[in-house]
Symmetry: C2
Subunit: 337 residues, 2 copies
């Protein structure tokens, strides 16, 4: 059903009907109500493509998806979707080849040239992330999930990674641990750098120095957790505690500890960052895992909201959110043996 036809059935002009449905003030309350109820009854809904062509709004937010499996992706998206459900805004997934900035930026250009999205959200930035400059010069609004140190002001939402790791490290130090290892995220990402910073600062406050030999960067996976934990624990002067980058990493760490005949929470303490996945919960691990917690889903919801504000014209330099992280102590952290 088209506007023409629908308007004719109502005995009104397309103009009035359009205005009634889009909530313009210059249409009488009576007609508005009638139009709305008839639209519902007859199932009329404007052709989204015509609306977009005319208004110039794409009605979609783009999300770049690296081809490599991103474990956080589904939760974040699900959070976004929840907010956008009522905003008449779609989520557009654009695939990009992992670790290829040139490719990704080409994809942004395409998106802009073809007016497919009103804004994009980018993930896991690095301190000097070239994407930010490109997006800036393209004039495409964007929100960074994470932070960058780019000279261009940009909207961002990040969790307080530095403080998170600082607090978990302090907790371990308070318990008496002195040799603490850290299995960090991907090298070069801002969040990894912040976490490392938190790790160092916690040591420094107590006049200690974080041992560079006990710090490693890698992707978040069960396998990498296992491999690095094992390598740490087999050393002569093995650490008594491990800070893990994610619950998935912690899983591998637990396994490594067990494989050496030791017990988590007894011989070795473990603490990890938890993005809250419904299928893998820290409290159900054995022993239950102490974590710093921050919901990826909530971040997705909020990022969607902020991006909508961005599109609506809110100033970029007003949009900066740093989320605190909860420290949740469970059984996996205890004084050293």
């Amino acid at each position: 059903m088209k506007l023409r036809e629908f308007a004719k059935q109502l005995g009104l002009s397309p103009t009035t009907v359009s205005r009634a449905l889009s909530g313009y003030p210059e249409v009488s309350e009576a007609t508005r109500a009638r139009v709305a109820s008839e639209a519902m009854r007859l199932g009329y809904r404007p052709d989204i493509n015509a609306v977009r062509l005319k208004t110039g709004r794409a009605g979609a937010i783009g999300v770049m998806m690296a081809r490599s499996g991103e474990i956080h992706f589904a939760e974040f998206m699900s959070g976004m979707a929840q907010r956008l459900e009522t905003a008449d805004t779609d989520i557009l997934i654009t695939p990009i080849t992992a670790h290829n900035d040139e490719d990704e930026m080409q994809a942004y250009r395409r998106l802009v040239e073809s007016r497919r999205v009103d804004a994009v959200i980018i993930h896991s930035p690095r301190p000097r992330d070239p994407r930010i400059g490109v997006l800036n010069s393209l004039g495409l609004p964007f929100l960074v999930h994470g932070r960058s140190e780019s000279e261009h002001v940009h909207a961002w939402l990040d969790i307080d990674n530095e403080n998170a790791v600082r607090r978990s490290t302090e907790h371990l130090l308070d318990l008496g641990h002195r040799r603490i290892a850290m299995i960090n995220g991907l090298r070069g990402k801002t969040y990894s750098i912040h976490r490392e910073q938190g790790f160092r600062v916690a040591h420094q406050e107590r006049g200690l120095v974080a041992d560079p030999n006990l710090m490693v960067c890698d992707k978040f996976s069960d396998e990498s957790g296992f491999r690095h934990a094992r390598s740490f624990l087999e050393r002569a002067n093995a650490p008594t505690a491990i800070v893990a980058g994610s619950t998935m990493t912690a899983l591998g760490v637990y396994r490594a500890v067990r494989s050496l005949g030791m017990t988590v929470g007894q011989n070795v303490s473990v603490i990890a960052h938890d993005d809250v996945f419904p299928y893998l919960t820290a409290e159900s691990m054995v022993p239950s895992l102490s974590t710093t917690r921050s919901s990826m889903r909530a971040a997705g919801t909020r990022c969607a909201e902020l991006t909508l504000q961005l599109i609506a014209g809110r100033a970029v330099d007003e949009i900066h959110e740093l989320w605190p992280v909860e420290l949740i102590l469970r059984e996996s952290t205890a004084p050293p043996p």
Copy 2:
């Protein structure tokens, strides 16, 4: 840059330029080449919304995303994205409230009425899935990832769940196990029913009967794996082997076995279905996990391809693919003690 302007720069009419770019035959090779190279140089790209309005194609495939965390989601999407990268087709995520069919069908109606997608992909169907009838009557092309027994013919791609579980169960029976438990997926889903069927058939072939007390349905998660495995293993007449629904479930099962002072691959055998997640691999578990394997990512890629064919007009009743599942034996399965 608009078509008008771009055409003027080339000294051609918009008509010719449009034809050249869309690959129509009635434009000379020389002009086509010139148009293509100039478009590249000047960065001209048709406004996607205008194209869509005119052609009536939405240029997008819809995917319904339940609000609950779907662990498979990211891998599947990533596979889809890979295929669609070169097809000028977007992926549109539409959020739906989990377990609320009415809501989901309302969402379909909205999608159709506003011409937002050319087709949708639906997941995890049930044998008599009401969504199929609705989509059918709406005239919106759709592909089912999984299968239904709906009276309406529909395009589908599924993995051979029955055979997968049948083979893993046969393997356990061959090893000498006689009390085998199964932790299945969500009750009512077609895949759970097929898996249960495979479990039963494997028993029947050998003149045995699958014990209904050793079969349970639940979501795929570490926690549910633990809970059910524990409940099974604490019984008087405990099973000597467990068939788990996913690697995530197997994780919980492993944990349950250990928590009772037993060892996987010694006191208890475990086999699971593996959808191949990059962050949790069966071979790196300890002991390495025997699995039936089928790549979720590959399924996503193929579903995207089939959906494109569907949009291009391929007959629905031609599109049925049943994928075989690999059986991969590792250390977690061994003869009963």
